[in-house]
Amino acid sequence: MEIKVLGPGCPRCEATERNVIEALSELGISANVEKVKDINQIASYGVFGTPALVIDGQVKCVGRIPTKEEIKKWLQEKNK
């Protein structure tokens, strides 16, 4: 599973990354978590706001910090 956290490096993006890592460890799923910081790269995802969460190429959340519960739900959907 490829997870990308899009954000230029403000505390909200870091909080998103933390939630992702915690959700992963709580579910016992392993995945590649990458932080995309470059503004041009972020724009290339077609995403209009940060923080943004991309799971396996699918944009899951844009413009706010997803809660751990939400992330767990998306991860479990992916795993089915």
């Binding site: 954000g7 209009f48 899951k60």
Partner: protein
């Protein structure tokens, strides 16, 4: 030492900085002592007078905007196939909705620029995002004056249009490489299925609450001194044992300079009655009723999960904004002791073109975080800066701060970045000048 990530290094340098300051601070120096007192005094003033009526409700509003308003419904107006006229309008106004956090402005700008409606609306958004920040506008109105708050809000929207159109015009010959694939999220960013009128009404009510909790105190009173003299004054400022009073004429204008008076020399303070003053006196009753309605609607319209999401977003903003605001206030308060008063009055005390220009440059270079422009402007106003240059500072600062400019440069390139900065500074200078002429 693999555990030392970038974030850990930031914490380390924070400790180091505090240590160095604590070690070398010349506490014996009388100016430094005064600076420390002033820093705390300014902080206390904000804590006592502005935090609960203004900052706290605004944080809840920001949290609600991010949680309940779907970005996607607005983004489609700024997307690749968008109607141009609509795009400019939406870009100029939606800054307050889309970019509640300053860090979301830049990626959104990059998105609109590269994939969306193009350079014009992108620059409109780039300007309006930081400029029409809900908290910043309300706090400006409260701390700096109702007239400045309104002028800032209106000026920001107007500017956004002009800046965007100007940029589109200047660079109309250039074709931008548009990124073809735009990922639209499958599910709505907020909680999908919630009709937008509900969320808009809910947030509108909260803003109404803020309007009243934040209501302007005209502070006009007839003051009788113990020595028998009387006069009508505008109470600008209040400390433990002094009042800063500015003579006030019947026409509603300030005449003459503000002076500090001791409370012990004052016999009687009779507030001059007016509608504004009456509303100010009952503002918490009005706000209270609105607040109760908001709470009832919250439980009626939103699920527990949605409310939880909202609280989480609000807390998140608080963690971000409060340290910046309080820290900024503290630093500004401390430094204000070292600024020679006369210099400020000399350089920006009059409403001339040059002082407006200077103020907008200062705004651009000294703005380093959201909301810091407010204590900076407040201190400068107290030291004699005229209202025109104050507006120029507020209109230029948030949009063309140094960190912003670096990022914009990375997206648009130096030529366009320079054009953007130049037009903002020119517009700020002109509007500051016009505003100053009207108000004074």
């Amino acid at each position: 030492m693999g555990f030392m990530t970038k974030r850990e290094w930031k914490i380390f340098f924070g400790f180091l900085g505090i240590f160095i300051v604590a070690y070398f601070l010349p506490l014996g120096n009388p100016k430094v002592k005064k600076g420390i007192i002033e820093a705390f005094r300014l902080l206390q003033w904000y804590a006592r007078h502005h935090t609960i009526p203004c900052v706290v409700p605004a944080l809840f509003i920001a949290g609600a905007i991010v949680s309940f308003l779907s970005q996607q419904s607005i983004i489609k107006y700024l997307g690749p196939g968008a109607n141009k006229v609509l795009a400019y309008t939406v870009a100029s106004v939606s800054g307050c909705i889309l970019a509640v956090c300053s860090c979301s402005v830049l990626p959104m700008f990059a998105g609109i620029y590269k994939m969306g409606a193009g350079i014009g609306p992108a620059c409109s958004f780039l300007y309006s995002g930081p400029a029409i920040n809900v908290l910043a506008i309300f706090l400006s109105a409260r701390v700096l004056g109702f007239d400045i708050g309104i002028a800032r809000a209106l000026g920001a929207v107007l500017f956004a249009f002009v800046v965007g159109l100007f940029m589109a015009f200047m660079f109309r010959q250039e074709e931008e490489r548009k990124i073809q694939q735009v990922y639209m999220p499958e599910t709505d960013t907020g909680f999908g299925g919630k009709p937008i009128w509900k969320s808009a009404t809910f947030i509108g009510l909260m803003i109404l609450f803020l309007v009243f909790s934040d209501w302007y105190n005209p502070g006009i009173a007839k003051i009788t001194f113990k020595d028998g003299t009387t006069g009508t004054f505008h109470i600008r400022y209040e400390t433990e044992d002094t009042l800063t009073l500015q003579p006030w004429s019947k026409g509603g204008k300030e005449t003459g300079e503000a002076k500090v008076y001791y409370k012990k020399d004052i016999l009687k303070i009779e507030p001059v009655p007016s509608l504004t003053q009456t509303i100010y006196n009952i503002r918490w009753y009005i706000a209270g009723v609105i607040g109760i309605i908001v709470v009832i609607l919250a439980f009626k319209w939103y699920s527990k999960e949605e409310l939880n999401q909202w609280m989480f977003a609000t807390w998140d903003f608080a963690k971000l904004m409060v340290p910046l605001l309080y820290g900024g206030i503290f630093v500004v308060g401390f430094i204000s002791v070292f600024i020679p008063e006369h210099t400020v009055a000399q350089l920006v005390g009059t409403n001339s073109i040059s002082s407006n220009f200077l103020a907008s440059i200062v705004g651009a270079f000294f703005y380093f975080a959201t909301l810091t422009e407010i204590p900076i402007t407040e201190v400068l106003l107290r030291f004699g800066m005229a209202k025109g240059p104050a507006l120029a500072l507020l209109l230029a600062g948030p949009a063309v701060s140094l960190p912003n400019m670096l990022v914009i440069n990375g997206v648009m390139g130096p030529k366009k970045t320079l054009a953007f900065v130049t037009i903002v500074v020119i517009l700020a200078t002109i509007s500051g000048f016009i505003f100053g002429a009207i108000v004074q």
